[in-house]
Symmetry: D2
């Protein structure tokens, strides 16, 4: 057991932090040694996450407060830190930890874009632009090579993960007509909105209510999706992304509509996906059924499918993921596994609880 890597979490009281607590607890080569919070600093983890009550060595951890002066101290106590802070607030914290020598996995948007300009178009001034070239986009199926040995990992957003996984192989294989707009109609469970209560996530107003929000290019994930599809296509791509809030706790289903290049067939699309996602991996192509968030809940697995509509010639690409596991914390661990040279699925839940 002397070879356990020591992990810490900043923002352990939120949903992505809580998911990391669960996943690290089940990981054979990681040990959770340190947790930090903001409003929750000074409290026991079991007060903030009562599910840890009675869990040996976890529930009794006390949430600390992080500040940059502590970076050196942490660098000697830990090997890796997961940073679960809001965009804008994350970059400086990440920078201090990274510069102190730690491996850092950032779950915010702060290091997901390659260029400072792209970041600032959506998010405002970047607090640590000099680190942007260091960061690797933490989507192992597409950046496996770059992730090997990486010390700064930008875990992808939940919506982008659900859109990029089914679409990128098609763009990379030249099967999509990039002159036509890509319509991505995505539906997310309420945990995607985070742990802070609000009117729109108040149970009586979220249950039995279904709504779109931040429509017509207003959602920042549009830029992240476009960037990745453009990298796959090697050409500009125009995305119309519409997020919806659905009355369930976890899960994203994205329904994407693309125009295939002339001559490209459904079989070509499936072939491209099979090549990108070999059997035994965490992305599974469904051919005889359709993806359902229920079936991937709590896991790092993605279910994708393609269907061609004869009537319009459009391709419908569906993808179901768990927004917190595959869409955030599980994928963060998967990327870390690759960075550390372990099997990408090491310690990850691959079969969820049902129902």
């Amino acid at each position: 057991m002397t070879d356990l890597m020591r992990a810490g979490i900043i923002g352990a009281g939120g949903y992505t932090g809580a998911e990391l607590v669960r996943l690290i607890g089940a990981h054979p080569k990681l040990e959770l040694r340190w947790v930090a919070g903001h409003e929750s600093a000074g409290r026991r983890l079991s007060e903030v996450l009562p599910g840890t009550l009675g869990v040996q060595g976890v529930g009794s951890l006390t949430l600390e407060r992080y500040s940059a002066e502590r970076a050196a101290e942490l660098a000697s106590a830990l090997d890796v830190v997961f940073c679960c802070l809001p965009h804008g607030k994350s970059a400086a914290v990440v920078a201090s930890l990274y510069q102190a020598g730690l491996t850092v996995v950032d779950l915010s948007a702060d290091f997901r874009t390659q260029s400072q300009a792209a970041y600032e178009a959506w998010y405002g001034p970047h607090p640590a632009p000099e680190l942007l070239p260091e960061a690797v986009y933490g989507l192992p199926e597409r950046y496996r090579r770059e992730l090997a040995g990486a010390r700064l990992i930008a875990a992808p957003g939940c919506y982008p993960t659900s859109a990029i996984l089914p679409l990128a192989p098609l763009f990379a294989a030249g099967l999509v007509d990039v002159s036509a707009p890509v319509v991505i109609d995505a539906k997310s469970g309420v945990s995607g909105a985070g742990r802070s209560p609000s009117a729109s996530t108040h149970y009586p107003e979220a249950a039995e209510g279904l709504r779109a929000y931040k429509v017509a290019g207003a959602h920042r994930h549009t830029g992240e999706i476009e960037q990745q599809l453009e990298r796959a296509a090697g050409a500009p791509v125009s995305v119309l992304f519409t997020p919806h809030l659905v009355p369930m706790s976890r899960g994203i289903l994205s329904s994407s509509y693309v125009k295939l290049t002339s001559g490209a067939s459904l079989a070509d699309c499936r072939e491209a996906a099979r090549a990108a996602y070999p059997e035994g991996g965490l992305v599974t192509l469904l051919e005889e059924s359709l993806p359902d968030t229920l079936w991937v809940r709590g896991t790092a697995r993605a279910h994708i499918s393609y269907q061609r509509d004869e009537r319009t010639g459009l391709l419908l690409a569906l993808c179901a993921i768990d927004n917190l596991t595959r869409g955030a914390s599980g994928q963060a661990l998967q990327a870390l596994n690759v960075a550390f040279g372990w099997d990408e699925a090491l310690g990850l839940p691959v079969l969820g609880q049902f129902p």
Copy 2:
């Protein structure tokens, strides 16, 4: 009170039937006099719909069994019959009632298409094609004139209602480029699947599960939507319709993506909608907020909105309805109100319970 019209319901134990029981009970000019069922024949209505327990004059009704021989008898006992039967089974029943002189509102798909060929392309042989020309499509906002005095009303499907209401005015005003495909991504609550239990509607597998079904042109409502949009456009229209099942009981949100004709603006679209749906009516255009199924639940109201995506130039048209009230039984009553010369909203719930 001597001027109450006497109503009957065939299929009163299903969801659209139950909704009619509720709505007729609150209607000032209708009186529920007769109910029929199939498996439930012989039982008291309060056994089948326990909400009617203690409701005077309703819960004590006994479900009868209908057969064509009873048409004449019913024609003297009733003025109007609502027929809530599956497509294919409905047409013969409707024909017998109509020919006996009753006003009939059919909630199945059997009389929604104008041409026999169009019906048979989606549903198989039509049992009573000679009546197709008699039927009026029961969407009052579009067929008000035709509905006046109509004796055979084909109540629209739930998905088509949610798609046609926001889109038809745009097609009618020539604002949509009909050469581009129309993408309609629709999400429905589980009551849309009817009252018969099944694996996909079993609570533990419907809650926390989100899925598309009958994709890529497999859902029959595609034809109904296309027919209506083509009538509005006066030209062929090509629709890609993707239905999704969402873990909530009631409601449909449809998100439609269309390409506008060159020169057409967002303002033009809103203007077209305001012209089609004057203030005081049951279709409300939202400009400062986005539709939410929560806000129209239990009512005959539709909330629609338009947003233009600068990035792709596409128009996003959103529409929220209650699939059972606006999408079926309430709209059926609205159409009957128009047929009988009453105010279209007479007796209809226009403000739903919240939350």
Copy 3:
């Protein structure tokens, strides 16, 4: 229409206020003329309750701010005011309106107890104790005579309504052994917690979570229940009341366990209920089935049942109500109907939407 009574609501943006907006809108003898709010003052009602968008004469109302100086002005503009404020804050407002000559229905706890001491034992100093003797407890089935002509009505709490309706007739008929404790295990939907978001009502933490709260005599409704059962029994009664939060929006199911007096039978209990709740009223005794919140949702109806456990000799009394309709706003209107000399069910929804 000149005989419409003019109604106002203070606190129209909360759940009980929203329910009154719905119910008054459907009431044939009331007209909503004025609404007030606190945080929402100055906004249109349709911004606070988007369901009123497009509802003529309602959505366009602007929420005002109430202060005691306005009492005289309101007394000439309105006939009745419903006050939906938190306990402690309500009494002074109610007093000002009442003294100005208005009929007031108070939905807070401030006037539910007869004695100042009883109030202060649970709630702290009473702001207007001199009015306590004027107030009538707004449970029409038990205080019909006192409510006739009443100008100050204290609408009962939601949990007490669900407990008193099934139990009071048994205590009044001497069927319950008052020396044994009464165990009331009640389960409420989340709307009972009000419209303000909080951690425990945040969708992802309320869905799939079931919990007791304010147990072992900590919930203030204990006192209100005891008071009413003692009035029915004419003797001290000892209640153990346990509230639970259930992942649904509306509804309360209370399961009460009482010891019958020796010789009292299940038939006696049912007989007592039938006498207290004649057919045609809003409380329905179920004998062949068990109450379900689904069947009374959105209505002012209560479903009750009794079962005797042979093994222990205890009686199980079940009651299902909608916490907002029967448990608050609908019952408030029912009481007002009686106060004004109208039929108690006038304008009330007696059959809910299903499902």
Copy 4:
């Protein structure tokens, strides 16, 4: 890896079977080698449990059909079989496997009672009464010694587990007045009803509906609870058990009301629980908060608490478990761990996904 025990599941397509598939897949000393089903025989496991799609070595298993002639063959291919069949059907299958030399964990009620008479009072004729003395009740916290080396384990029912865990230590310590009835008011998620669709589990009728069922001694778990409490007390105990169906997928919260013996205090109760459930085990006593099903979901952990009501002197014992993990499959594995001499928590999820 040569020391993996080979496991099989009969009834793998139901909820307790599916949960075993998940749990065995994560267990370090068990390997799932064989699955059987009835209606699902001949299908791949991934068709019946799509969550296993892409899960190496699991999704590709084919469901077989079991018959007693196969017992010997299975005895050489497997070490342990979990039997997830309905009561009455299970006993003969269990007997054949047990007699062939396999270790059998039976998740039905068939071997939970010690005496044939007790079984037959609730369930009808017992198909294999001669095996009753061989079976050990699989509640490790109470039968740890008996379970060591056991080859026939009767996994407890979900409701009984939730009642016995908090109550048995109190009865065993003589803290409860056995002359007073024990009231157990339990609330279960819908998965407790199994995987077969029915009217009461149809999503639109289960969501927003809360109901008691099989009340007043009609539920068979009453006998199982009484038997275990009587064994703890060494005296007859009289239980009134009321199950309720709650709109959530997983979880049971039981609220039990008992009369303490004179002199017994809340502190005594907590002391008894601490003695029965030492720190580090799977049952956790909460003193500063109350149990919530959310916090134990998907785990084998139970959260219990005690509160004393001064007003009535009664003790309220609360217990939250996951009905499928602690209430069935996880506890079955826990018992097997003890039987095989492993750590009781080996391979079990002790921290659930949140939210």
